[in-house]
């Protein structure tokens, strides 16, 4: 009963504290709102749309192919993807990229057409790009490669056909060669117009909608922030032990014949109650305002409960390492930031073109990593084993930390 009294008293104090309210609710909502702004609200209609890429081009080609290529890219069909500006000389195009007026410049060499219509020489189309960008220039290169490959294919078809005919003592007429080339070009272009042959699917088997990733990302970010700040709340709640020690009220409590174990239990309970309220409010907010789909309700509740216990336990353990409030400040500021960000590393890697799976494993060094993993698994609807493994990992980790923290404080106040 006394433990509950202590917990209620602590909660009352916390909810009157600007600092606590800021960390429990304001900051996670603010940051999620920030990413919602960056990526879109995440609701059903969210579309991830890239702005058209500003591209400069020069055409030194003495033949027609260069002009045809530029015509295609400058057409209305691609105007949502590329804003193409054709300039006279290479230097201007390069300068535009240097001045950040364009993300990339396509430099078509003089021998482009000639190379594709003869059997000698080699032509190189250069994509001069802004090195601080990856996405836009990557798309440009992809488009250019597609066109050049089509031309290469035509060239190779003609070459192979002529080679084979010649080996058999036959010769193809120019008209035949042209027909070959056209046949190749028409077939390939026709296929391209039908759209992509590649579809993406989640590991669970669902077809990926165009914007599924965006909606998920916002959910993962908010989830990550929830976990990050839940652990802060746990440490904040346990830090009140040190605050009370310095203020003299802890000593006073001992004077009332309240055993240390009851006081520590009260503090742990306070932490758990605060974190539970925090997580419930944040998940509700995420669902109602940002349209985040957290996954099956039952599993979400399990996640909330387990994370509540985990964060409270971690907070108690972390603060038990501090002798006074100053040290606790370092633990809360530095320790929790480091462990929290490591735990969220998987979320940060979402934007990486080359994510590192070793980091994903490293996240398991910290309980926040297990919590993030469990939430991701629930949100993505992964296999039950994966979900329960993550949940179990978090439970075990939390139990150990709770015991250690409790034991350390008990020993200190014995």
């Amino acid at each position: 009963m006394k433990a509950l009294d202590i917990a209620i008293k602590d909660m009352k104090q916390a909810f009157r504290s600007l600092f606590a309210i800021a960390f429990m609710f304001v900051i996670p909502i603010l940051i999620t709102g920030l990413f919602a702004f960056i990526f879109g609200s995440g609701g059903e209609d969210t579309e991830i749309s890239f702005e058209p890429i500003a591209v400069q081009a020069t055409n030194q080609d003495t033949g027609e192919l260069g002009a045809i290529m530029l015509q295609i890219w400058g057409s209305d069909a691609l105007s949502d993807l590329i804003i193409l500006t054709v300039v006279e000389d290479e230097a201007s195009a390069r300068q535009a990229v240097d001045d950040k007026q364009a993300e990339a410049a396509i430099l078509i060499p003089a021998n482009f057409t000639e190379t594709l219509f003869t059997t000698s020489s080699h032509a190189e189309v250069e994509i001069y790009q802004d090195p601080t960008l990856t996405l836009g220039p990557g798309i440009v290169k992809s488009l250019v490669t597609q066109f050049v490959d089509t031309m290469n294919g035509s060239h190779i078809t003609v070459k192979v056909a002529n080679l084979q005919a010649a080996e058999r003592g036959q010769t193809l007429t120019p008209e035949q060669s042209e027909a070959l080339s056209m046949a190749y070009y028409t077939t390939i272009s026709g296929g391209a117009q039908q759209g992509s042959l590649i579809s993406l699917e989640s590991p669970g088997g669902e077809q990926q909608q165009a914007n599924a990733g965006v909606k998920s990302i916002l959910g993962f970010i908010m989830g990550g922030m929830m976990i990050f700040y839940a652990y802060f709340t746990g440490a904040y709640a346990s830090n009140t032990i040190l605050t009370e020690q310095e203020n003299g009220t802890l000593e006073r409590m001992f004077g009332t014949a309240t055993p240390p174990a009851v006081i520590i239990t009260g503090k742990l309970l306070a932490a758990a109650l605060m974190i539970f309220v925090q997580l419930v409010i944040l998940t509700a907010f995420g669902r109602l305002v940002f349209g985040i789909k957290w996954g099956a309700l039952g599993l979400l509740l399990v996640f909330i409960l387990v994370t509540t216990v985990g964060a409270a336990a971690f907070g108690m353990f972390a603060i038990s390492l501090a002798k006074d409030r100053k040290q606790a400040g370092v633990i809360m500021g530095a320790g929790l930031t480091v462990t929290g960000m490591l735990g969220m590393a998987g979320t940060f890697m979402l934007s990486s073109p080359t994510p590192n799976s070793t980091i994903d494993t490293l996240t398991l060094l910290v309980p926040q990593g297990w919590a993030n993993r469990a939430l991701l698994a629930i949100m993505e609807g992964l296999s039950p084993e994966r979900i329960w493994l993550s949940v179990l990992g978090l439970i075990v980790y939390s139990a150990v930390l709770a015991a250690l923290g409790f034991f350390r404080f008990q020993k200190r106040f014995a």
Partner: protein
């Protein structure tokens, strides 16, 4: 002189505490490395950072084998083929993150290439890895199209020859195979190729540095974020001085208000300057980042960054009434500016409107400046704009801080 003495006093107080070194240096270095690793790929061998794609070949034809071979030559993807794996295993591998993607080559794949009625391919991937998935899809499509191109070449060549001469069924098959082989050989050295070059990179070495250095973004990103975090200690000094009435006492010595504010501001700016300088030197020496390719530009950018963060610290110290609120008021801008300003992930992934708004934060300008120096080898002629803007932010924050500052 008194301004300098006040600044030195503040710096002494800050550096007395080991936490200062931890927040100012160790944490940003640690996170730079962490973020660098996050973006460095799976590191097969030491240098191979290609995305791992598991291939399940249900077709087992020459065409499917040829496709796998083509993928092995890809610069983007590294195929993983394990005869013991089932489709379920591959999916699990993607689920747990051991593979970036998995591709099933269905039965009939080779035949579809011959007939021209191509089978759609499904790539299994984590739907949140937006950027990686784009790269995977583009590369698989390119390779698939090339492979189809080869078979199309063979078909067209065969068809053309049949118009000239008769071929028996066996001869047709042999002809087709020969066409295919010739096409494959030609594709190894196509007549036209596409290559990338980078603004500011003149040598192959420089190009490689841009393509392979995972820290080009994370290093300045973490510098920008932790420059703000470093203000916590400085702001707390101001709060403590106000509470202990040391600030009021200072006024009784004839030291002007502006002088006192300038002294504190100078301390904060100096500390951040030293922090950024040390981190830049660290990046130059240990992370192979060319911070000092243009030393004047870098030093001026660091100075401007320090000045804006120092002014922000002054503003925080002016607004915060207690140590707790100083921490909150430091961490909120840290997260907001860092997130919105592109310290965590490049702004190019957001829309133009977001990028516009982001440039209302000093972090976005810091990132622009540092990335231009690191990726483009830019000098003062390019970096002057971010420097000027940062100084403008410094003036704004300082003015606000001075206006709101209360000595009691």
């Amino acid at each position: 002189m008194r301004i300098l003495q006040l600044a030195l006093k503040d710096m002494k107080q800050l550096f007395q505490s080991w936490q200062t070194a931890f927040f100012l240096l160790l944490m940003p270095i640690g996170f730079t490395l962490l973020f660098g690793f996050m973006f460095s790929g799976n590191g097969g061998g030491e240098e191979d950072t290609r995305l791992l794609i598991g291939i399940m070949d249900l077709d087992q034809t020459e065409q499917s084998q040829a496709f796998i071979q083509m993928l092995e030559g890809s610069e983007t993807l590294r195929p993983v083929v394990n005869a013991d794996y089932t489709e379920e295993t591959y999916r699990k591998q993607v689920e747990i993150g051991d593979l970036n993607a998995a591709l099933v080559l269905p039965s009939g794949f080779g035949e579809s290439l011959a007939t021209g009625e191509l089978l759609p391919l499904t790539v299994v991937a984590d739907d949140t890895a937006l950027v990686a998935n784009q790269a995977i899809r583009a590369e698989v499509e390119t390779m698939y199209t090339r492979l189809f191109g080869m078979t199309l070449t063979a078909s067209i060549s065969q068809e053309t020859y049949r118009q000239i001469a008769d071929l028996s069924t066996d001869e047709q098959q042999a002809f087709y195979q020969e066409s295919l082989d010739l096409a494959a050989a030609e594709w190894k050295n196509p007549p036209a190729t596409v290559f990338s070059s980078y603004a500011g990179a003149e040598t192959e070495e420089q190009v490689e540095a841009i393509e392979q250095n995972a820290y080009i973004h994370s290093s300045p990103g973490m510098m920008a974020q932790f420059a703000i975090a470093g203000l916590i200690g400085a702001a707390e000094i101001l709060v403590t001085e106000r509470k202990s009435r040391a600030l009021s006492r200072m006024l009784t010595t004839g030291f002007s208000r502006m002088g006192i504010l300038t002294g504190h501001y100078l301390a904060m700016s100096m500390v951040i300057f030293l922090q950024l300088l040390v981190l830049a030197v660290f990046g130059q020496i240990f992370l192979d980042l060319k911070y000092f390719s243009s030393p004047v530009a870098t030093l001026l950018l660091i100075t401007a960054s320090a000045m804006v963060n120092g002014a922000l610290g002054l503003l925080i110290g002016a607004l915060a009434k207690s140590s707790d609120t100083a921490v909150v008021f430091s961490l909120i801008p840290m997260f907001i500016f860092a997130g919105l300003g592109g310290a965590w992930m490049p702004l190019e992934f957001a829309g133009k409107s977001v990028q516009f708004v982001a440039h209302f934060t000093p972090v976005a300008w810091m990132m622009d400046g540092f990335k231009d120096i690191l990726a483009r080898g830019a000098g003062l002629e390019t970096v002057w704009l971010p420097i000027v803007v940062l100084l403008g932010f410094a003036a704004l924050f300082f003015s606000l801080g001075a206006w709101r500052f209360r000595f009691e």
